[in-house]
Structure formats: structure tokens, C-alpha cells
């Protein structure tokens, strides 16, 4: 029973109300708690609490989703195109990128595209004569020639580079050459090793980009 003070207000919850509180959470979760309904019939305050919580739950469930601003898709789409996840009709093809006014970068692009096409077509490196001599091994002579030209251009321009930067480039290229040589040697014995092929492709990609970077740095007035 409720305990009412002289002013007509209850000063503390009754034992039944406390039990109601204790069972309420489970009741609202759908568990059987017959005491909740029974007490709600007797106690107006607890009945109000129960009805309110049921209303809150229903109202929250009835909230309609909000409409996002129209620019949201435009921003998402632009980022997806930028990352190459979708191809925009307006996006330049790789051949247009390769024809940019920087011939060095064009060479790097053609080299990379050619190598990746070669690797993707399942080309075999088994018959590569350069492997035994430890040289950079590319079956396609055009690709090998392009890479050689870039390296020669780098050697010429490296003279004018900051010594620290020059050493960094040389060590980096040596490291990539070693990676290429090792992978080629391994793949000549185990051509189907996917991870080794992945590393070989990655090494060529990085080498092309490092050379392009070095050539751009050696260009113009930066040193």
C-alpha cells in the first residue's frame, strides 16, 4: 500500500512498487511478468510509468529516417571515381594520363601498364635469359628498354641532386632491383607462386614511380 504523508504525497515507493520497478525491464522485453499488469491496475503512478515507457518505445520506433543532403552522393561518387572503384565516363583513360606533358611520367605509366598486362596474361618468366646474369628481367624488350632509358636519365640528373637525396634514391633503387632479381629467380623455378608474382609486380611499380619522382626532382630549378 502507498505510504502517504500529511500533504497527500507519497514519500517513498511501496514494496509493490519496488517489485514493479524490478520486473518492468523484463516485462518490456517481452518476458512474462504477470505482477506488472496486476500492479498497474492498482497503482496509478506505476500505470502511468508503464504507459509512458511503452509510448516512448513506440514513438522512437515510429521515427522516420531523415533525408540526407543531395550533395552526399556527389561527394561519395567523386571519391569513388578518384579511388578508381568506379569508372566515370568523364575520367581520363590511362592513355590520356600517359600523354601528359611530363614524358618521364608517361614512360612510367606505359611501363607499368605494359608490365601489369603482361603479368595478368599469365606470362612466363621461365625462359628469361637475363635471370642467370642477375640483371633486371623483363621478357618484353620494349618494357625493358623503357625502364633502362629512365634509369639512364636518372643517372645523368642525379649528379645535380642533394647528396642525401641522391644516396636515398640510389639505395632505394638498389633495394628494388634486388627484389626484382630475387623474385625473378624464384619465379623461374616456381612460376605459379601468386605472392611472389605480387611482389614482383609491386617492385616494378615502385621502381617506375621512384624513377619518375627522381627525374621530376632533378628537373627545373629545385636544386
Amino acid at each position: 500500500m502507498e505510504d502517504r504523508g500529511g500533504n497527500g504525497n507519497v514519500t517513498r515507493a511501496s514494496e509493490a512498487c519496488r517489485q514493479f520497478d524490478s520486473d518492468l525491464e523484463a516485462y518490456l522485453e517481452g518476458e512474462a511478468r504477470p505482477g506488472v499488469d496486476a500492479h498497474a491496475v492498482e497503482c496509478a503512478f506505476c500505470a502511468a510509468l508503464l504507459a509512458d515507457l511503452q509510448l516512448v518505445r513506440a514513438a522512437a520506433g515510429g521515427l522516420e529516417p531523415d533525408e540526407p543532403p543531395a550533395r552526399l552522393w556527389a561527394n561519395v561518387r567523386a571519391a569513388l571515381v578518384d579511388e578508381g572503384l568506379i569508372r566515370s565516363p568523364r575520367q581520363r583513360g590511362w592513355w590520356q594520363w600517359a600523354l601528359r606533358p611530363v614524358p618521364v611520367t608517361a614512360l612510367a605509366g606505359l611501363l607499368l601498364a605494359g608490365f601489369l598486362y603482361y603479368m595478368g596474361s599469365g606470362g612466363s618468366l621461365r625462359h628469361d635469359a637475363h635471370v642467370a646474369q642477375g640483371a633486371v628481367a623483363l621478357v618484353d624488350p620494349n618494357l625493358a628498354q623503357s625502364m633502362d632509358k629512365m634509369e639512364q636519365a636518372f643517372r645523368v640528373r642525379a649528379v645535380g641532386l642533394d647528396p642525401r637525396v641522391k644516396v636515398a634514391y640510389e639505395k632505394g633503387l638498389d633495394s628494388l632491383d634486388a627484389e626484382i632479381q630475387e623474385c625473378n629467380a624464384f619465379l623461374s623455378q616456381q612460376p605459379d607462386d601468386l605472392l611472389a608474382r605480387e611482389y614482383l609486380a609491386s617492385a616494378y611499380t615502385e621502381k617506375a614511380r621512384v624513377l619518375a619522382s627522381a627525374l621530376e626532382l632533378g628537373d627545373g630549378n629545385v636544386q
Binding site: T105, V165, E182, V210, E216
Partner: protein, 308 residues
Amino acid sequence: MAMFNKKWCASQRISVLGRRAVRTVLGRCGLVLLLVPSGLLGAAAGNQLEKTIQCIPTPRISISNPPGGVVVVRGWDKSEVHAVCLPATPKVTIDCDQVPARGDAEKVRFTTQVLDTQAGSQEKTVNYEIDIPSGASLEIYNPSGSVTVERVSGDDGVESVSGSVSVRDGAGHTSVTSLSGAIELIRPTGRVEATSITGDLRFTASESANVHAQTTSGAIFFDGDFVPLGEYVLSSYGGNMDVACPTSDSVELRARTVRGKVNNELRLKHAQPRSPSAPGNGFGVQNQGDATVELKSYSGTIHVHSRP
């Protein structure tokens, strides 16, 4: 007054070694802006140059320092860019451009200009110390000398050749490339791409949900959380890899190597791989396998151990 047309790309990420920051921001979005150089920075005592620019809370900041030097950029809570630049000698100077030319800047660019091309390397370096709004996005090209970026929540793009790079509390998309410099990321929360050919890559207290790290002969150290539905790809060719994984994290781990070794100290359940690829040297699931962790090396040792 020199006027020149430039394209300023909305996305300021440098993920390819081989482009200058200036050309990198000449992106593909087709927006053409006229940059009006505001001339030389105001000279303070000696060679030090100092400038304060009022800007919007999320400006785009770019620093192009081809001769190299020490670059420190810190995020702060003011809508101002405050730059202190120290050229080694008067043979080099700094241009500062802002767009728009008047009012709060939306873009600010610092470019080191060499005045005497015959000067030696050490005579042309410039050190930058810049405070920028923490919501700014940032693009730095600094081939030699260290780069430190702290508390920037916009996208960061840093390109170096021989210098080390340290990015702390980066909350945006962080993209860092260096040729021989070490790369350190402390408490990143945004997406991270880090590449060094011979330098080490170190992640400390990472909370990022997307990490791609690659090195050829450097080592990789990863100590951080593997967030549910996160994607982590760490690749080293010849260097070793050390990965600490909290025991409470939910990861699907694949470790592959061609000629190296995988030392796995985690207690993993072996389950069907979710990602389509060839089976590797080590695969397993910790807890529910919510994060995807891929560790690769050619000849380095991959060591995975637990962290409480």
C-alpha cells in the same frame, strides 16, 4: 604581379611517390582558380620570416620545400595560420599564396624558391614551423629533413625522400610516402596509407580502421587496436614485421610469406577464410574475426603476439 592558373584538387592525398606536392594538388576535379601571390613573407629579425593569416576553420594548407629542411606543423584551435620560416641563407626565400586574396583564406600555400641555383644544398634549406587550424587538410612535400605533423584532423598527405616523417593524432586520411626515411604514426584514428622503400614503419596506439603499410627492406612495427570491420594490410619485402594484437580484439588473421617465417603466438581458431585468395602460411580467427588483418612478406619474419 605574377598570375598563374592552377587546378586545386578537392582531394589532397598523395599516395604515389614521384609527384611534387604542387603538382599533386593539380588534380583532376576541373576547378580552376587564380592564385595571387601575396609576395614574400614579412621579415622578422635576422633571416626568420613570420606571417599570420586569418582563415576558415578547415582550410587547405600546402607546403612545398624542395631543398628540404625541418618541417613542423601543429593543429590548434584558432582559425589562423601562423608560420615561422627560417631560410638557411638569403639565397632562398618563401612565397606565400592565399585564396581568396582577401578575407578568410580557404587555401594557403607555402613554396620555397631558390634564388641562387649555384648555392650549395645546405645553403638552400628552409625550416618551417606552422600552426594551422586543427580541422585543416594538409599537403607537404619535403624531400630531405624531418617532417612532424601533430593534431590535424583533416586529410594529411606527406611526401619525403630521405627525411623521417612523424604524424601524431591524425584523424583524417593520412597518406605518407618516404624513400629511405622512417615513418611513424602515433594514435592515428583515420585511414592510413604509409609507404617507404628502405625506411621502417612504426604504428603506436593505432585506432585506425583502415591501414595499408608497405616497405621493401624496412621493418614494420604495429601496436594498436584492430577495430571491428577494419581492414589492415601490412607488407614488407625483406624486412621483419612485429605485430601486437590485443587479446580482446576480434580479428581474422592471414599471414603469408614466400621465403620468410611466420611466428604466431596468438591462439587462433582455424576457420574458413572470408576473403577470396589462396591459402597462406598462417590463417586463423580470434574471437569473432571482425577485423581483417593481412600480413605479407617475401623473406622477412612475421611475428604476431598478443598484447593484454
